[in-house]
């Protein structure tokens, strides 16, 4: 059959098939390219998280010497020290601890990004968590002359999840509350109902505008004003907290109005049997 004998309809069809074939071939090529790119990205991401893990190790090693010598000096191992020197040592220690916190935050976030943050699911007691948070942060609240209240409902059920990570979340929220509140109180409440724990941290601080609330849980974002710049921080704490709560299948949010203080709250299932993967 020669070309001249083809009907226009046949030609039209052949052209359509040819076009489709071109598109299909192009799709296969694009698909290959995407697969290739995503493999490259995966490798790059693994390299990045390995680099951050090594980096964190390298940063923690000298920090061990700095904090270790500081504590030994403050404990008088190298002899009695004048009061003024003791004051300087305290500042040295608190700055060293702050630096450690920043290193830990960056490491945590890099692990989350690389999908390497794994919850360690075991039994925990919310009473114990509240107690840890109280003993860790009550001195900071006392330094600022803030009232510090911890209200845990009676007869809390035993929890199952990553108690250490949930402690980290609560310490982060309470630490923020103390940091941004200059007068008044910080109140922690814990209760359980309908198979979930409910935790909240209320403060009498400056409050947060609606626009800033939207940005709070994103990486490297802080409510952008002079106060937050003065108070410091990486802006990673809430982003990390959000991921930890979500990995437990829970929710975290803020309720606040400028001038009315803030309340950060989260809920997690009492029993978490499996880590929830990010969507």
């Amino acid at each position: 059959m020669s070309v001249r004998t083809r009907k226009p309809r046949q030609i039209e069809l052949a052209t359509t098939f040819a076009d489709q074939a071109v598109i299909a071939i192009e799709n296969v090529r694009l698909f290959d390219e995407i697969q290739d790119k995503s493999r490259q990205l995966e490798v790059a991401s693994q390299h990045k998280s390995q680099f951050l893990a090594n980096m964190s190790h390298e940063l923690r090693t000298p920090l061990n010497a700095i904090l270790g010598y500081t504590e030994l000096m403050a404990d008088g191992i190298y002899g009695e020290l004048p009061e003024k020197t003791m004051g300087v040592l305290k500042r040295l220690e608190s700055n060293g601890r702050h630096l450690l916190g920043l290193i830990n935050d960056v490491l945590d976030l890099s692990k989350i990004e690389a999908g390497q943050l794994m919850l360690e699911l075991t039994d925990y007691s919310l009473e114990d968590i509240a107690q840890t948070v109280r003993s860790t942060l009550e001195p900071l609240a006392a330094d600022k002359k803030l009232a510090f209240k911890v209200e845990v409902a009676p007869k809390m059920p035993p929890g199952h999840g990553d108690g250490r990570r949930l402690t980290q979340v609560l310490i982060n929220l309470v630490g923020n509350a103390i940091k941004f509140t200059d007068a008044g109180e910080v109140v922690i409440k814990a209760s359980a109902s309908d198979g979930s724990f409910h935790l909240s941290v209320r403060d009498s601080g400056p409050g947060i505008s609606a626009a800033d609330q939207a940005k709070l849980f994103q990486e490297f974002q802080q409510a952008d004003n002079a106060i937050t710049r003065k108070k410091g921080g990486t802006g990673l704490g809430l982003a990390i907290s959000k991921r930890i709560v979500e990995m437990h299948g829970g929710k975290i949010w803020v309720e606040s109005q400028v001038g009315q203080g803030s309340m950060f709250a989260f809920t997690v299932p009492v029993r978490v049997e499996r880590q929830v993967e990010p969507v």
């Binding site: 061990n64 010497a65 190298y78 490491l107």
Partner: protein, 121 residues
């Protein structure tokens, strides 16, 4: 009677901190800077407790711990993993290798001493 502690650590500053942490009246300190040296020291002069850094030149702290714990004559010596690897799962790795305690760097010398005393009272 003073207890003998083997400090396995490749960093001079960290060895110095442990020397300054452990009162000389209560503890006699032996030192090793690599996994191989640690195994040699353990075989020659059986310590009462081992502080084991994990990242070491040559065989690492986990491997050294496994070999010590595989020897029935040495198995009962408590070994503390002392490491600045902060990845999750590190503690399980240390326990799986046979470490009795896990101490993350940076550690508080005061708290480390308290932990050692629990084992050597």
């Amino acid at each position: 009677m003073s207890n003998r502690i083997l400090v396995v650590e490749d960093q001079e500053d960290n060895r110095q901190i442990i020397r300054d942490t452990l009162p000389a009246t209560d503890y006699e300190i032996m030192e090793a800077e690599s996994g191989e040296q640690a195994l040699e020291a353990v075989a020659k002069q059986r310590p009462d407790l081992i502080l084991m850094d994990i990242q070491l030149p040559g065989i690492d702290g986990y491997e050294a711990t496994r070999r010590i714990k595989a020897d029935p004559a040495l198995r009962s010596i408590p070994i503390f993993a002392v490491t600045s690897y902060a990845l999750s799962g590190e503690e399980q790795k240390a326990r799986a290798a046979g470490c009795d305690e896990y101490v993350a760097k940076p550690y508080s010398p005061r708290q480390l001493l308290a932990k050692i005393r629990q084992y050597l009272s």
